[in-house]
């Protein structure tokens, strides 16, 4: 790409100081910005979760009023989904996609800068609603009407913030697709691309397909609330159930947007520390594509209880269960990769293994929820909360942490503190289970979600869960310290970093220089993560 190359030559004297971060078009700088932003959001969203857990420590109303409690559950979800998990994956993509495919930068560096810098404004708007007279949204992150339309005027700010996040995600996704399809080094054929690249390519298409649908849905809420339309207003001939259909048409692919890149990260890490190539590479690619396809035809399993014909319930139940097949293929492949490998258990591998085990727990409770008659019981209970926190926290977040530990030496040029990393892993794993496992029982016993008070028989499990929440939460300060310490110094990292690592990102020095692959490398079987017999 000649444009990209000349563009970089102009910028060799890039600005210094803080201004550098504002105007940067370098994929590594922007990746760092995304990751730091997501860490800040992770801490803010985590603080909100602790408000929730503190209130639920004992029955009755202690600390916050119910309306503020509902604001916390809503904002915790919005901040974690759109502020922490998604930007973290985009940050990893920014850092690693060009390095892994041998490109000098992202295809659209200026748009890249813009898609990041929209985010701080979007979240300033979203968080500012907490300080408005009518408060932040309190209807749950799904913003179901009619409840979401009964709040104050701050609702308009929430909608605009979601619009901005959507624009940022769509621009980021377009950039990633263009980079992967058009900027690969010679020899980097599609079926030689690392799995992280494949999962992100598919995720980016999901983002482009569904973020605009969310934008449409919230725009309809906006016009219903402020401009007299009746999309979802039954009195005016609309239907609130329609919103749920549109929302979950976005929402279910969104769930996979937050997990597919995690599959990619784990598929990089497990082969490295098993000192083998990934087992079943091609089936991994097809499994990812099938999961993405299936995500578009299962949305109504989020809304079985609205009342739908038996045929529709059966269809959505079976379609949902079918997803367990490609997901099972992946888990099988990860296990087969480890089979007879020379395994070592550095922190990234520990997090990846934790991911495989605990994501599977979340996946199995997902299959339980797919069963229609069981779902009628579990719906809107703490069982659902336990399910999606297993797939999102011990799934996505653990994979992100695994990726951060895995690539941190490449980013900083120093090894992180292995001892502290291991402590961080074990601390998090123990307490995250103390936090979320009892919530399964609470849900099965009938405790509803999004309610600040509960019946006294739920007290013990809630106390255990809250203790787990606080311990897990404060443990993440250690994560911040490890990153800070590693950025400051430490044992110098070699280019390869890990003994078993494969792929182009390990052929550049550590720390990765500001500009890499100005001359495209040639990819052959020795560096490719996948040896494909076809070429």
């Amino acid at each position: 790409m000649s444009e990209a190359t000349t563009h970089h030559d102009d910028h060799h004297d890039h600005p210094k100081g803080l201004w550098r971060w504002v105007v940067t078009t370098n994929h590594k700088d922007i990746g760092t910005l995304y990751l730091l932003f997501s860490l800040v959001m992770f801490l803010i969203g985590g603080a909100m979760a602790l408000v929730i857990r503190a209130e639920l420590f004992a029955p009755g109303l202690q600390l916050v009023n119910p309306d503020f409690f509902n604001q916390m559950t809503t904002m915790h979800a919005l901040v974690m989904i759109f502020g922490a998990v998604m930007p973290a994956f985009v940050g990893l993509a920014n850092w690693m996609v060009p390095l892994m495919i041998g490109a000098p930068d992202m295809a659209l560096p200026r748009m890249n800068n813009w898609s990041f810098w929209i985010l701080p404004f979007a979240f300033t708007i979203l968080l500012s609603t907490l300080f408005m007279p009518t408060g932040a949204p309190a209807s749950g992150w799904t913003l179901y009407p009619p409840l979401s339309l009964q709040g104050g005027n701050s609702f308009a700010f929430v909608i605009f913030a979601i619009h901005l996040m959507g624009i940022s995600s769509i621009m980021g996704a377009i950039n990633i697709v263009a980079t992967i399809l058009n900027m690969r080094a010679p020899g980097m054929t599609l079926l030689r691309m690392p799995l992280f690249i494949w999962t992100w390519l598919i995720t980016a298409f999901l983002l482009i397909a569904v973020m605009p649908v969310l934008a449409g849905a919230v725009t309809m809420l906006l016009t219903d609330r402020f401009f007299g339309t009746s999309f979802f207003n039954a009195a005016g001939g609309g239907d609130p159930v329609l919103y749920q259909h549109i929302f979950w048409f976005f929402g279910h692919p969104e769930v996979y947007i937050m997990i597919l890149p995690a599959f990619g990260i784990v598929s990089e890490i497990i082969p490295t520390f098993s000192r083998k190539r990934l087992f079943g590479y091609t089936s991994m690619v097809y499994a990812t594509a099938s999961i993405a396809f299936l995500s578009f035809i299962v949305w109504a399993h989020h809304m079985f209880t609205v009342g739908m014909p038996l045929g529709a319930m059966l269809f959505f139940m079976y379609a949902t269960m079918v997803i367990a097949v490609p997901t099972g293929v992946k888990i099988f492949n990860w296990i087969a990769t480890m089979w007879r490998g020379s395994m070592t258990f550095e922190t990234p591998m520990l997090f990846a293994l934790g991911f495989v085990v605990m994501f599977t727990i979340g996946g199995l409770s997902g299959v339980m929820l797919a069963i229609v008659p069981a779902d009628f019981q579990y719906h809107d209970s703490y069982f659902v909360v336990a399910h999606f926190h297993y797939v999102l926290v011990t799934g996505s977040v653990f994979a992100i942490m695994a990726g951060v530990y895995y690539w941190l030496p490449k980013w900083t040029g120093h090894m992180y503190d292995e001892r502290l990393g291991k402590i961080h892993f074990w601390w998090s794993t123990v307490w995250v289970n103390v936090l979320f496992f009892p919530q399964h029982y609470l849900g099965l016993a009938g405790m509803p979600r999004r309610i600040p008070d509960y019946a006294v028989q739920f007290t013990e499990f809630n106390m255990i869960s809250s203790i787990g929440g606080f311990m897990f939460g404060f443990g993440q300060l250690l994560f911040c310290y490890i990153i800070w310490k590693c950025a400051r110094g430490g044992e110098p990292a070699s280019a390869r970093v890990w003994e078993g690592s494969r792929g182009l990102e390990w052929t550049v020095p550590s720390p990765a220089p500001h500009h890499t692959f100005d001359t495209p490398p040639v990819v052959d079987d020795s560096v490719a993560v996948h040896k494909d017999e076809l070429t």
Binding site: I174, M183, R184, V213, L214, D239, V241
Partner: protein, 189 residues
């Protein structure tokens, strides 16, 4: 040196295609609205076909004397409307094909005139295609003066083609305040 590019697709062209896809999907979100309405109309899933009048006085010579269908009448008032609203009869045994009439009573508890709008639905959804109303207060807005009470008739025929296994049909109304019409009324007073 050139990077391995997607054959025949330059970056601007690819970006343009992806941007068009994003815009099209925004449109698709809106397209789901008429699609959903059409889908419900054809299948009767959300029981909303009950909102329209059947123009014909139903063919009373086709009365199916072989079976009874129980019709339940249900009434709900939205919390934003200070009215009382209930059916005179809770339940009725009807012959499919025969025209029946029943009455709902509404009472405006407020000291000002209010315009209400009833939104009907029929459960189960599949029955809604076979439940025909020839006259209903839900077809028009209802204006009740301060502390006024009114009897409102519904005339209906259950289609003899109603599937055999449906023995119970519920006709439900939710009464909402028509805020715009009420505001106009208040302004003209």
């Amino acid at each position: 040196m050139r990077h391995l590019a997607n054959k025949g697709s330059t970056t601007p062209w690819l970006v343009a295609k992806l941007a068009v896809l994003a815009i099209a999907m925004f449109g698709f979100g809106y397209l789901l609205v008429p699609l959903y309405e059409k889908f419900c109309e054809i299948t009767g899933i959300d029981g909303r076909t009950a909102g329209q009048a059947t123009g014909v006085e139903y063919l009373t010579d086709q009365v199916d004397e072989s079976r009874w269908v129980t019709v339940h009448f249900d009434a709900t008032v939205n919390s934003g409307l200070p009215w009382q609203f209930e059916p005179v009869e809770r339940m009725m045994q009807v012959r499919p094909g025969k025209l029946y009439e029943t009455t709902y009573i509404a009472f405006n508890r407020a000291d000002r005139p209010i315009v209400g709008q009833a939104v009907p639905s029929v459960a189960p959804g599949r029955a809604s295609l076979f439940f025909n109303k020839t006259e209903c207060f839900c077809f028009t807005e209802q204006l009740l003066g301060a502390r006024e009470s009114r009897e409102m008739p519904v005339r209906f025929v259950v289609d003899p083609n109603l599937p055999e296994r449906v023995e119970l049909v519920t006709l439900s109304y939710i009464l909402y305040q028509n805020e715009q019409a009420t505001a106009v009324l208040a302004a003209t007073d």
